[in-house]
Each structure stands twice: as C-alpha cells, then as structure tokens.
Symmetry: C2
Subunit: 124 residues, 2 copies
Amino acid sequence: MIPEEVKFGADGLIPAVIQDANNGHVLMIGFMNKDALERTLSEGKVCFWSRSRQKFWVKGETSGNFLVVKEVFANCYVDSLLIKVDPVGPTCHAGYESCYYRKIQDDGLEIVAEQLFDPKKVYG
Amino acid sequence: MIPEEVKFGADGLIPAVIQDANNGHVLMIGFMNKDALERTLSEGKVCFWSRSRQKFWVKGETSGNFLVVKEVFANCYVDSLLIKVDPVGPTCHAGYESCYYRKIQDDGLEIVAEQLFDPKKVYG
C-alpha cells in the first residue's frame, strides 16, 4: 500500500533511484505513476511508467532481467524513492550492469564498464 | 564542459542522483539546468536548480554541507546523471546523512536512520 504522504509530481510521476542491494551500485532511475508504485510494492518487481512510450512497464519484461524489490525508502519531501533491489541480470538495455556506464571526462563521455550482453541478441 | 550528448528535459532540467563515493550510500536526487551542471563540473561542488524556489542553488550554501564532486556518470539515454561525491557533512536538511532516511513499511513510513543535527540550529 502506498503511504498517504507520497507525493506524485504535476505529471503524476515520482522518480525512483534503483540501487543494487548487494554491491551498492546505482543501476538506473525511472519514473512511476501510482499504479506502477502500487504494483512494485505488492508484486515485488520494479515497475515503471514509460514516459517515452506512455505505458506501464515491468522492468525486465522483455529481457528477463527483473529487479526484485528488497527495500523501499522515501526522501525527506516524500517526492522521490530509493529502491534497493536484487537484480536478476544486467539492468541496462545497452548490455551493462548499470545504465551509468559512461563517465563525463573533459573531452566527452568515456565507457568505463564492461558490456555483459549483446543488446541485439536480447531485444532483437 | 558539458558533453553535447547530454539531454535536458522539456523543462530544461536533468535529474542527478548523488551517491557518497566513500560508503556508496545514495544521499539525494536533485535537478540541474545547464548553468547548474556547468558550475558543478567546473567548480567541483554540486549545484542544482531548485524547482520549488525557482533559483540556482549550491547544495550546502546555508549549512556548509557541500557535496564535493569526485566523478560524474551519464546513463544510457544521457538524460540523467550519477554524481559520486565526498560530502562535507550530513546531506539532508532534516538532519540525516541521506534524504532517504525513511523506509516504506506495510503500515507507513518508518525512520530508519539516526538524526545527526538539529535542523533548527543549522537553518534557523
């Protein structure tokens, strides 16, 4: 059940930071509407509202790389969430453990992580 | 310098997750406009655009609890950032190390962290 204090934005969405409960790595952020948060809490797999596709989305529904919910935290204003998860596989659709696989350097973006799968093979 | 790939949203803002580089704790998320990101990268202290106050904001300008930038990462869509920092003091204006000091339980929000300072004494 969603605590009554939780504040969704004017667009009906709340941002959620996803962190690997095992190694502390930040994996991604996504946005949830009320339905996505309710199902995340009740079903134990992270769900989002896709802003680009304008649809409900269970993270991992295509790749199988679900994010199993361990703990959910709210920030001081109760307008963002931190969700600690047990990830079934690499989180990023580009084939990396985390979506944050590139570092901003003085001369641009540099890939600093190892690619763990070929996106073409997973997403077709 | 901001890499040209970085995408600000329709509102001109990009969300940034702030993580303690020392212990891996997620401290907060905030939103940056172009100016706030430029100054974060060039000056080495995390700056935001405050959506509630509609103004530029150096995190720590009142409390002294600045967030010293160690590394900045971009996600796969280059529409969010992960910033690893060395925090000068507790990050949350409510007196906690992290803004995520409450856990969502079946019966509501439960404080699960220790309060490290009295907000009234720091913010007046």
